[in-house]
Symmetry: C2
Subunit: 177 residues, 2 copies
């Protein structure tokens, strides 16, 4: 097989799907947004939902290629430039602290991550990447770049840039609440 599926694990919608269909009446889609010439517009909601599934699927494949889950990939990503405690890690990933134990346990068992006692706080732990973890993180980053870039194949450079700026603006707008 070329590259696509079969690698398998983690969600990957062969056929995209927002939270459902794809050919639907269009719920909110405010004003008469769409129906330009031959342009497609699923509406902001469906388009973003579908896009998110597509991107997640891409990340899932990258991770699966190395026997990892998306959450493990995220973990490595966070640790690339940080050395947080379990609590902080949980906040970064949006998980409960009790979920972190197992997550880090599994990563540690694979030799990707290390747990060191915090110098300042007797209870705390500092989680960091091992050498192997760093290497893998680099690979994953590169592959994710390639895969996600490939997804934008239908766009020309100008469109890609616009999309990037819009998405960045949106995301920034949230974190800067």
């Amino acid at each position: 097989m070329p590259d696509d599926d079969h690698a398998a694990r983690a969600p990957r919608p062969a056929r995209p799907h927002p939270d459902g269909s794809g050919a639907r009446p269009g719920p909110v889609d405010g004003p008469g947004a769409g129906d330009l010439a031959g342009a497609v517009d699923l509406g902001i909601v469906d388009s973003l939902a579908q896009l998110s599934f597509v991107v997640q699927a891409a990340l899932g494949k990258v991770a699966a290629g190395h026997g990892l889950s998306v959450i493990q990939l995220r973990l490595l990503g966070v640790l690339r430039d940080r050395e947080p405690g379990m609590q902080e890690l949980a906040r970064h990933l949006g998980l409960d602290k009790s979920s972190m134990t197992g997550l880090v346990d599994r990563a540690e068992r694979r030799g990707l991550v290390r747990r060191d006692p915090s110098p300042h706080d007797g209870r705390a732990v500092r989680v960091s990447l091992t050498e192997e973890g760093h290497g893998l993180a680099r690979e994953l980053t590169a592959e994710a770049d390639r895969r996600i870039l490939a997804l934008t194949g239908a766009l020309d450079d100008a469109q890609r840039t616009r999309l990037s700026v819009l998405a960045s603006t949106l995301v920034r707008g949230l974190s800067t609440l």
Copy 2:
């Protein structure tokens, strides 16, 4: 915390995060894309990755609000305008057929979904929404609309439309491979 979160259940990164950080050196980011005036541009890869997590988180909260997972929400979404067999359902969701049994079992147990024998094929099953399932699907759709729309708060109408068109184009470009 500002935001809201706490609703809780199912994956939901309160703080966005692509595959990791957020303040990173920027891996591939091709040419000298970013750094326009005051504009932010995380690069196409990071922006899409982060966006996907944000959207997924939003969908996760919608689902969690009704005691569902994202995948269950997707299931209901697919079934809104379809009455597929287990196999076809698996294709739509990008899952293995063996995963479907449990997924549908749980949905059925909650009274959201029904399994009827196919009239034409003695082995096959037709999965469909119950009345309750339809009602819930409608609610979820409406809430997802609201939530995702809210995410785009940092964008004006023109930007929202552009984002929608670009995302649609990207997604369409994939399904039309």
